[in-house]
Symmetry: C2
Subunit: 598 residues, 2 copies
């Protein structure tokens, strides 16, 4: 049993629940039948298990170190990335005409999921490079695409995103890195960037940094931010990396998790001139960056889900194999001890993990499908897919980061003392996962994005679209006697959500309306996951052979996890939403000096 | 501002809320007036800040290593413990006639709290030694007390507790370490123990291990476990450590937190004979160990609370000093950025930490008071204090381990990227704290102890006593117009608790009754903390000078945290308790193969 992937569940999601083999608008998945997808997943799994998994513990214990102005990389990182590159995987999701395989976003995400689960610290390098290349393709000039994006797609170069600065972490409005015209279409950049993942190393002959900076005379705030392409090494006439471009590694942050991925403080233009090229229009940098960031947010949610998955599967195997104690009421010490999984509280912690992880994965897959549909749709349909994605993006980023972290906590708890030692990977998964709640915008920032922007967009049409989808599932489920209770519970939950949304929309004081935005985000996530569980239960019901004398335990497990989410998790959303609806000001009203006293 | 202690809050708890200066049965605190206590706390704070705090990060980064059969200790550990010893602190809570200072349990706990907050990895050594010495005093012979306990009390030797074995972690019934009579009152021990904190080092000339083992022909299970005193070095005729006793360090577990405390696998009797002495009666070892463990469980809850406190205070200071972004509705980028604490969501995360940490600390203090009262009481009163402590012990161990860990998570979240780097201690607090949920019995084990034993004891009299105390506070609060709503909410919560308890007591199938025991424990903890918050709000109200034009922000902050707990946390207990009351069998009924499928 692999603990980096649940192939049965992927099949269930792809072919039973979302039915990617069906005809779809634009034929997104045309040519990707079950056989081909299976083959792609097989290959990826083998490679991830052989090349990424073995070094995951040692890389965590001996991460890159800063020496002589460079990040010294453990050889395992280089070797794994080489194997990934040799398999052609950096190009998998790029168009065939650019040397790629043209894999749909969804399939590429699931392929990458195995590398993420096997060794997130290494997977990050290629994930970030692909995101940077995609941004260049969307907003760069033909020359930028050819000279810079192609080598990234080929896995020869890597890429980074440079947003935060020491005085501007979450507040991009306040970045101060400057870009002055230096002739011939180039700009001279000066400034310092922090939390830059994937830079600072010499593993590839070049690194392409995408850097937010201000042009001279740019408006203050986010309306004056432009995006620049800044290579680590300038290209010579033949397009080969040559002269150093003075992007200096000042230091590496030492992190609690994902320790094998460099996290750099980079200086631009201090050691000598740093030249860059404008990407897109002046002052339009944030728009381009957010184009990338929406996909990156799905990506972070998916990484969080994979961390949860590995912990779930590892602790599940441990609970099957490790004998400890006896069932309640069977205390005779002369009888053998039973496997941990025989204890109800251990099963509770496994079911809680399953509900969180498989619920979150269904959400990631649904969002990835929307990304693919977006690529194929047009007109009104495109607008709807986009709106739906806008609403779901803060949720898919955040809900897994919170609830799959909790799953990792439970994986450790199941294992007792063994759970907190480095002899087992679950404590590492927990540490790795803790970062996802901060990457690409914290819970609080996602929450303001959701309640302050996304549910207001287009007169709330995005939320309406989501509710319509949820109600369609409720309609189906309410026809099934054994699911009608859950269907009714979900309909009731929607009424809490609608009441809370209306209360905030009706509140003139924006700060008060948004004071409990994080609770709204969490509750809405819980409701969306409940919807996906109800849907999974419906599918499991349909898949069950009519000969119920041989029920399929996998499908029964789906139903049990659905029950768990509806009974143990969903009711909590009501408490959150009633605080939102009541515009509770406990946290808004407490003054700083009241918190600071003592 | 110190981040290892909140002296204003300690004063509030000691002198305003629990009024330790008042006359009490048995005069527990006679002689400990405010001036003396303040002086003791001052001295401890200075020492903890000077000797324990500075090495906390470096010890985490470079923990003890296993070499040549021994744990090689970083010098900082030795130096800090020497300073603690030179200040006479190992003896602080022991009777004057044994060379101690006779400090009440409560005061010693608060003194130790500062060392715990400053550097838990070092504090563990003396905490464990004191617990072992106390056990020897309670159950050992006069000779054992004199020869072994006295040097521990003097801080010359250290002590460990050896319970778990590779095949028996939480299931003590299954331990197999044997002890064979070897003449002259000695026993030869053979076996392997794991998760032994504080052993394996050469920092003191001897280490006294308290070891659970079986005598020949002992009954199976917990009724056949005896307790042995096993020195690392045997004593010569003068009582000096001499010949090696063949307690071999096989290896150190590498942990995610509390990394400076050795966590040993120890072998007894493999390298040569290991001699030990029986403590107390044959087959009564578990009783003695649990005598110690009840206090150890309060101790673990207190350690978890201290981890929460340090994260809260550190992140609070960061939120005051770090400017980032602007308040909602004030987005003009030409205005200066505001401190993080100006954002409502940051205040929410601070208030949540405050409510958890100060609520948990009030519970620790209340339990410590009961320990002291227990030492002074007799007859019916003693019985009542004991019963109350029995019921509260699983709660004081568990609630802080869950909710102050969540507080540590929020401390990181407030700090964004800075929170997950080793440049700040909050990620370390989070890692340190994660172990407390497993130490001295997991959540699940505490839950079965509470719902399966403690609330049933003496026909539920312990629970009745607790409810009576809570209702007395409700009675007081309901007289105050501004607290009546909370008082009514708490009364309602008690009705959920009573209904859930009754349902479980009425259920014949014990396994089903206990299937949701962990939810019961969590909810009961939340209700107990609500009681302590209502009580704190009452005290704050009383302390507030009648001239309300100058309200005291500290007292207002108490009220705000009380409001937070009642509005944001307490309602969730209802969901937990309704699952308990309904004897929900979602987790019990799911079969292992349904979870295992996929």
């Amino acid at each position: 049993m692999s603990h980096i992937v649940d192939r049965r569940n992927l099949d269930f999601l792809l072919f039973d629940m979302f039915d990617v083999e069906a005809d779809r608008p634009g034929q997104t998945y045309a040519g990707y039948d079950r056989q081909l997808i299976t083959q792609l997943l097989d290959t990826a799994q083998k490679l991830a298990e052989a090349e990424y998994l073995p070094s995951s513990a040692s890389l965590d214990a001996s991460p890159p170190i800063f020496a002589n102005g460079e990040a010294v990389m453990p050889p395992s990182v280089r070797a794994a990335l080489a194997a990934y590159r040799d398999a052609g995987l950096p190009a998998q999701s790029f168009p065939v005409e650019l040397g790629g395989s043209g894999l749909p976003y969804l399939i590429a995400m699931l392929v990458n999921g195995m590398f993420i689960a096997a060794n997130i610290s290494i997977a990050n390098y290629s994930l970030l490079t692909a995101a940077a290349a995609r941004l260049l393709l969307a907003f760069g000039t033909e020359e930028q695409r050819t000279r810079f994006a192609l080598p990234m797609i080929a896995g020869q170069w890597m890429g980074t995103m440079c947003l935060s600065e020491p005085q501007a972490g979450s507040s991009l409005a306040d970045i101060t890195t400057r870009a002055e015209p230096a002739g011939e279409g180039t700009f001279r950049l000066r400034g310092t960037k922090i939390w830059i993942s994937g830079g600072g190393h010499g593993m590839t002959e070049n690194i392409v940094h995408l850097v937010l900076a201000r042009l001279p005379g740019a408006p203050a705030g986010v309306k004056g931010i432009s995006l620049f392409l800044v290579p680590q090494k300038r290209l010579d006439a033949e397009g080969r990396p040559g002269e150093d471009n003075n992007v200096t590694l000042i230091g590496l942050a030492h992190k609690m998790g994902q320790r094998g991925t460099t996290n750099c403080q980079l200086n631009f233009g201090e050691a000598g001139p740093t030249l860059g090229y404008l990407i897109g229009e002046p002052h339009q940098g944030l728009r381009a960056m957010f184009h990338m960031m929406n996909e990156a947010r799905i990506g972070v949610g998916h990484v969080a889900t994979m961390s949860g998955l590995t912990g779930y599967r590892y602790s599940r195997r441990y609970a099957q194999e490790r004998v400890q104690g006896r069932r309640i009421g069977h205390k005779d010490p002369t009888t053998p001890q039973v496997p941990l999984i025989e204890h109800a509280d251990i099963r509770r912690m496994l079911l809680a993990q399953k509900a969180a992880v498989e619920g979150a994965l269904a959400l990631c897959v649904f969002c990835a499908l929307l990304v693919d549909e977006q690529g194929a749709a047009s007109g009104e349909e495109l607008k709807e897919v986009r709106l739906l994605l806008e609403v779901l993006t803060p949720i898919v980023k955040s809900w897994p980061s919170e609830h799959c972290l909790k799953a990792n906590e439970l994986a450790m708890q199941i294992m007792g003392g063994a759970g907190y030692t480095c002899d087992h990977p679950v404590e590492r998964y927990y540490r790795d996962n803790r970062l996802n709640h901060i990457y690409e915008g914290t819970y609080g920032i996602q929450a303001i994005d959701l309640l302050g922007r996304k549910v207001r967009m287009d007169d709330g049409h995005g939320l309406d679209l989501l509710l319509a989808r949820i109600r369609a599932t409720i309609g189906d489920a309410s026809q099934m006697p054994d699911l009608a209770t859950h269907a009714a519970a979900l309909e009731e939950a929607l009424s809490w959500l609608e009441a809370a949304t209306a209360a905030v929309m009706g509140e003139g004081d924006q700060e008060r309306g948004l004071a409990n935005a994080t609770l709204y985000l969490d509750a809405m996530g819980t409701i969306v996951i409940a919807w996906l569980w109800l849907w999974q239960a419906l599918v499991a019901r349909r898949c069950q052979a009519p000969d119920t004398t041989q029920p399929d335990p996998f499908l029964q497990g789906k139903r049990a996890a659905c029950d768990y989410h509806f009974r143990y998790i969903l009711p909590h959303a009501r408490i959150h939403l009633s605080l939102v609806e009541g515009l509770d000001d406990t946290c808004l009203a407490v003054s700083a000096d009241q918190i600071e006293a003592g």
